[in-house]
């Protein structure tokens, strides 16, 4: 398909694509979640050691993975925003941040509720959970900085730089937390998955992760639609406004 993708690099021309994308990925997310939940809560066999409590893994692992992935994708968009001075790239990063923070928070929450019945405590300072906690702080920092800077373009660049600095630091933070953890816990109590996993269990995790991906893309595209309209309608170019209206955007409740 010979589509001129550059056509979509302006926020306003990207809007219809975002609209379609949000709907399509939303539908996929719902379908995959349905299938995933079916496997997670019904099909997959009960674990021998952890009982039904292990089923939390089907939401915990996808949330934790998404928290990481979303940050990496945000970093990618941030690099593009700074490198090409591209508004849309910055808007995509802006759209992803809240979802990433929510995923990190859910990873921590579900991890706590998984830890209590299996390892006896809601919070054990293991490497992965502690790193996820710091990742949540990184997300909150980007969100707070966006909120604290009035000018949207300046906020774009500042948040992009902060995201990139954070991205470089994430491996360092992970490594140092891992180090600290092994020193203080000896043979690790790690919140890793039981070594032998039935094929259905793996399938369940993969389906739920795919659902989480589709959900994230759908929500981010929906959020970027709102961001595009909010930011472009205040633009000094009247063309953007007329452009938006002429495409039929805003004619009826979306």
């Amino acid at each position: 398909m010979l589509i001129n993708w550059y056509r979509f690099s302006s926020p306003v021309s990207f809007y219809p694509l975002a609209s379609i994308g949000a709907q399509v990925f939303g539908i996929f997310a719902a379908l995959l979640a349905g299938a995933g939940l079916f496997v997670a809560l019904y099909v997959a066999p009960t674990d021998a050691t952890q009982g039904d409590a292990y089923r939390i893994i089907y939401v915990h692992v996808p949330a934790a993975w998404m928290a990481m992935f979303i940050y990496l994708v945000m970093a990618g968009w941030s690099a593009a925003a700074l490198g090409f001075n591209a508004r849309l790239s910055a808007m995509m990063a802006q759209a992803l941040a809240p979802t990433g923070a929510i995923m990190a928070a859910l990873a921590l929450w579900t991890g706590a509720f998984w830890g209590r019945p299996t390892w006896g405590t809601y919070w054990a300072w293991d490497a992965r959970m502690t790193s996820t906690l710091i990742l949540l702080f990184l997300y909150l920092g980007v969100l707070a900085l966006r909120n604290a800077i009035e000018d949207p373009r300046r906020a774009d660049r500042a948040c992009a730089l902060l995201t990139l600095v954070g991205a470089v630091n994430v491996p360092i933070i992970y490594f140092s937390v891992q180090w600290w953890n092994t020193l203080h816990q000896g043979s690790s109590i790690s919140f890793t998955v039981a070594p032998k996993m039935a094929a259905t269990m793996v399938a369940g995790i993969l389906i739920m992760t795919a659902a989480a991906w589709c959900y994230t893309i759908a929500v981010a595209l929906a959020r970027v639609q709102a961001i595009i309209v909010e930011r472009e309608r205040g633009a000094t170019w009247l063309e953007s406004l007329i452009d938006l209206r002429q495409r039929g955007i805003g004619r009826s409740p979306a």
């Binding site: 702080f137 707070a144 900085l145 800077i149 300046r154 500042a158 140092s176």
Partner: protein
């Protein structure tokens, strides 16, 4: 170097030696910019020595108050000591970070500095070095004295000093990025702390860990090596990030 209080515009002469060798000029420009930033900021800081004293006093207070919240038993304190001494150092660094750029930002000097032909990362490194000299270094010197309150033995105290000497410059360098990003933003010190503390975590882990290791009779060479390597990388790379943040704030 001018000894007057003139703002940057008047005391940052453009190097008139335009016909010299380019690389020579670049190097002298980098060192010149570094030295200029360092000297100026130290001079400005020295004008309000009381502020510096207050900062150090903050550190002493936090460290001294902490045992009141737990038991004064030597075992408990010896265990908590490295962590408390290090965490208080982090907080002390945070406390003085806003002043790194804010003063110059508000009166327009920062813009003049950024517009000057001197390389901004070198200038920023100079300012950061001044911040360390007036904040991190005093803390690193003070900490072993306070460590005696925590029943830490001599070897632990020397490791504490070494670790802080290596770690506090990294804190200043990381903090400079946060200070530049939050220029002119709402939220003040709280926002700065939120941005910078997660980045401080590795320094805290390896720094306090070094003292813990020595206290337990083990070697802290790995920690020290990591801190040293971190310092080198930070000195070389972070000023560029901070300079970008300054430019973003000035746009």
């Amino acid at each position: 170097m001018n000894d007057t209080d003139t703002p940057a515009l008047r005391s940052a002469p453009i190097d008139a030696r335009v016909d010299e060798d380019e690389t020579d000029d670049a190097m002298s420009s980098v060192l010149g910019a570094f030295a200029w930033g360092l000297a100026r900021d130290v001079r400005i800081a020295m004008r309000s020595k009381a502020d510096l004293g207050v900062q150090l006093l903050f550190y002493v207070l936090v460290v001294s108050l902490f045992p009141l919240s737990t038991s004064p038993s030597r075992d408990v304190l010896a265990m908590l000591g490295p962590g408390v001494l290090w965490t208080a150092a982090l907080l002390a660094s945070l406390l003085s970070l806003p002043r790194l750029f804010a003063g110059d930002f508000v009166d327009g000097t920062l813009e003049q500095i950024a517009l000057s032909p001197r390389p901004l990362p070198a200038l920023v490194l100079g300012k950061t070095a001044a911040h360390w000299l007036t904040t991190g270094l005093p803390v690193a010197v003070m900490a072993p004295l306070l460590g005696a309150q925590y029943a830490l033995d001599g070897r632990s105290l020397s490791m504490l000093a070494i670790a802080l000497l290596l770690g506090t410059p990294i804190l200043s360098l990381l903090g400079a990025i946060g200070a530049a990003l939050t220029l002119g933003a709402r939220g003040g010190g709280g926002l700065l702390a939120l941005l910078v503390l997660p980045l401080y975590a590795p320094v805290l882990i390896f720094g306090a860990g070094a003292v813990d290791a020595v206290g337990a009779g083990m070697s802290a060479s790995a920690n020290v090596a990591l801190l040293g390597a971190g310092l080198i990388i930070a000195v070389v790379a972070l000023p560029f990030a901070a300079a970008s943040a300054v430019r973003i704030a000035l746009d």
